[in-house]
């Protein structure tokens, strides 16, 4: 589930509020959005893709809240890693064309 809105990184653009399919965030004036309904989070990772500054972190567990340590997340470079993996950052764009899914789908 969603566990972190990094106040350090967040610019308050509220894109995550608009794009979350299950309406988990609430906008707060002059502040980062809050995780208002964590129990409704469907662990789809979509907000991470749309946050322009990699301020969000969705943890692995779909059922239970998990404590996260922002500094540790910074160290492991996991923030923004999904956006990179699908080629949604400027430096990772070529990854879109090199989607190798067909290796799984050709007759095996």
């Amino acid at each position: 589930m969603i566990e972190l809105v990094s106040a350090e990184r967040c610019t308050g653009c509220n894109i995550c509020v608009s794009v979350c399919p299950t309406n988990v965030f609430d906008a707060v004036e002059d502040s980062p959005p809050v995780i208002a309904r964590q129990g409704d989070c469907q662990t789809c990772f979509m907000c991470e893709l749309y946050c322009p500054v990699d301020a969000l972190y969705v943890a692995h567990d779909a059922n239970l809240a998990v404590a996260v340590d922002e500094l540790a997340l910074e160290d492991t470079k996991v923030l923004g890693s999904y956006r990179k993996a699908i080629g949604w950052t400027a430096d990772s764009r070529p990854r879109r064309a090199s989607d190798r899914s067909y290796l799984l789908l050709k007759p095996h």
Binding site: V19, P21, N23, M46, I86, S101
Partner: protein
């Protein structure tokens, strides 16, 4: 806007935004997007409302999908047909399979012509057999904008509007601002997806069967609701129900014994009823691992973040329920995607996919394929219907027809939707009730669900944003009752309907089951459909 004040419920609301359209599309997954694009291309003014955000919402956006893209070479098409037919258990139809594959071929090529960045293979050619969900849906969103379609995000529909015996629009709420909306339309396309009962299977929690409820309130006919026993494997802690990777997996029980069996899904389901099951993806060659990493990065999000190497370390798994999302059942439709209700059309998972997939939606991308073809057809037909009505449609006297969760028939009580949802889930999620079904189990479940329906119809009402959950709750009860009532009438096992009391397929039941109703659910075999023609091939 003349009409909205005809609706007493909306007169009282603080603010109502009222719009007019030729075609209103409810749902912004691929099927809704294709319907809206096609209707707009026919010259219709189109509004599309999505519960979440067109681009991130629905099963495709989060999951990525394989899709059937086969050129019109007779041998290749015959092979594609045979693959579908082998999984359909005599419930599909040859003509439909062929035309769905053909329509999808053409429309994916159009997508490429519009500049969609399909991946290239190592030999440099374009590969069009998978859709990366976030890319696909973001591209369709841009295309819709270009086509002049009005998109209402975070705007769940709550009910249909009806005028002069036709569906004439829908009303809903902007769940961020709390403002109510109403759209008067000549025709409505339901593309609200399937129903996965808030199981947290990847990308499915917005899919609560709302379209099923709306259509049932309009008196529509459903088909194949018993084909709803679909579960997918995920790591026990994770949402990512991408079963494909387990093709290269080994499953074990708590003691490390390898689970073997002809039908692995059933073996795993049976074991999970008794205790924990583990998996490791130890059969994936480096090349397959590369395919997973570079093709489907979302597979690894939970593993990487948990610190598990799924190729070498065993991890606990579960089967998450996906209901009618990767099931089959839905609104009965004709070859133009018209439902049995005038002015109401259906596409994607909201419609029955039996014509294409029969009794199991299986692997290989039939659902994504169906979303494209049915979306295009529904959009086309809805636009034509609206054009025949002309602008006159907006002057018709319309009323909202929503019941349960919106307009209680008794004294409204403070019913807790959380408790009702938990009670629904106790009937539909357990493997020993819905993966493996039985006469006794289905009867008991149906009795409990009927009780939930009665109580909520009498007393459930939401206020403000909680009105959305109230309607979702009613929709899940309505959907589950159609599923289980249909399942009771199919006294055999076939495809994804596994019946403990009737463990084998009965050739005499090679026909569809229609259903419908709200307070009283009816189920009957479709007249004259013993679907034998296609077997000859």
């Amino acid at each position: 806007m003349s009409s909205i004040s005809d609706l007493p419920e909306y007169r009282a609301a603080a603010a109502v935004s009222a719009l007019e359209a030729d075609v209103l599309v409810l749902g912004g997954g691929p099927s809704g997007a294709w319907a809206a694009l096609t209707a707009a291309a026919k010259g219709a003014r189109v509004v599309l409302a999505d519960k979440g955000f067109l681009g991130t919402s629905g099963a495709t956006a989060a999951a990525n999908t394989t899709i059937i893209h086969v050129p019109p070479d007779p041998a290749l098409r015959e092979a594609a047909f045979s693959r579908r037919w082998a999984n359909a258990f005599e419930i599909a139809e040859r003509g439909w399979i062929d035309r769905v594959i053909d329509a999808t071929w053409h429309n994916l090529n159009r997508l490429a012509d519009w500049g969609y960045p399909f991946p290239t293979m190592e030999d440099g050619s374009s590969y069009r057999g998978t859709m990366r969900g976030p890319d696909y849906m973001r591209f369709l969103r841009r295309r819709l904008r270009k086509a002049g379609v009005t998109i209402l995000d975070q705007s769940p529909a709550l009910e249909l509007l009806v005028a002069e015996g036709s569906v004439a629009g829908a009303a809903g709420i902007d769940r961020v601002s709390g403002e109510r909306w109403a759209v008067r339309a000549g025709a409505v396309v339901l593309a609200t997806g399937g129903c996965a009962f808030l199981s947290k299977a990847l990308g499915t929690n917005g899919l609560t069967g709302d379209g099923t409820l709306f259509a049932a309130e309009a008196g529509a006919v459903f088909s194949g609701m018993e084909w709803s026993g679909h579960y997918s494997v995920s790591a026990a802690f994770a949402s990512v129900t991408k079963g494909i990777v387990y093709f290269w997996g080994t499953f074990t029980d708590a003691d490390g014994n390898v689970l073997a069996g002809r039908d692995r899904q059933s073996t795993v389901a049976q074991k999970l009823i008794d205790g924990p099951v583990y998996a490791v993806l130890d059969k994936a060659s480096p090349r397959i691992q590369e395919g997973m990493r570079k093709g489907q990065p979302n597979i690894f999000l939970p593993f990487d973040r948990m610190g598990i190497d799924p190729f070498t370390q065993r991890f606990p798994v579960t089967l998450r329920y996906e209901g009618t999302v990767r099931g089959v059942g839905g609104l009965a439709i004709d070859e133009d995607c018209a439902t049995s209700v005038p002015g109401l059309y259906a596409a994607g998972d909201a419609a029955s996919r039996e014509n294409l997939v029969g009794a199991t939606s299986g692997g290989g991308g039939p659902n994504a394929t169906w979303a494209v073809a049915s979306g295009v057809w529904a959009g086309q037909t809805a636009a034509a219907f609206a054009a025949r009505l002309g602008r006159h449609h907006a002057s018709r006297k319309a009323r909202g027809i929503g019941g349960n969760g919106l307009r209680p028939t008794g004294t409204s009580r403070d019913l807790d939707t959380g408790e009702i949802v938990a009670a629904i889930q106790r009937e539909v999620l357990p493997l020993d009730k819905n993966f493996f079904r039985s006469e006794r189990g289905l009867t008991d479940s149906l009795g409990n669900l009927d009780g939930l329906w009665r109580d909520s119809a009498a007393g459930l009402v939401g206020t403000g944003p909680s009105i959305v959950r109230a309607r979702e709750t009613a929709a899940m009860i309505a959907t589950s009752r159609l599923m289980f009532a249909s399942a009771l009438e199919r006294r055999e096992s076939r495809g994804m309907h596994r019946h403990r009391d009737y463990p084998t397929l009965d050739p005499a039941q090679s026909r569809r089951l229609l259903s419908g109703g709200l307070d009283r659910i009816w189920v009957r075999p479709e007249a004259g459909t013993i679907l034998k023609e296609a077997i000859a091939s």
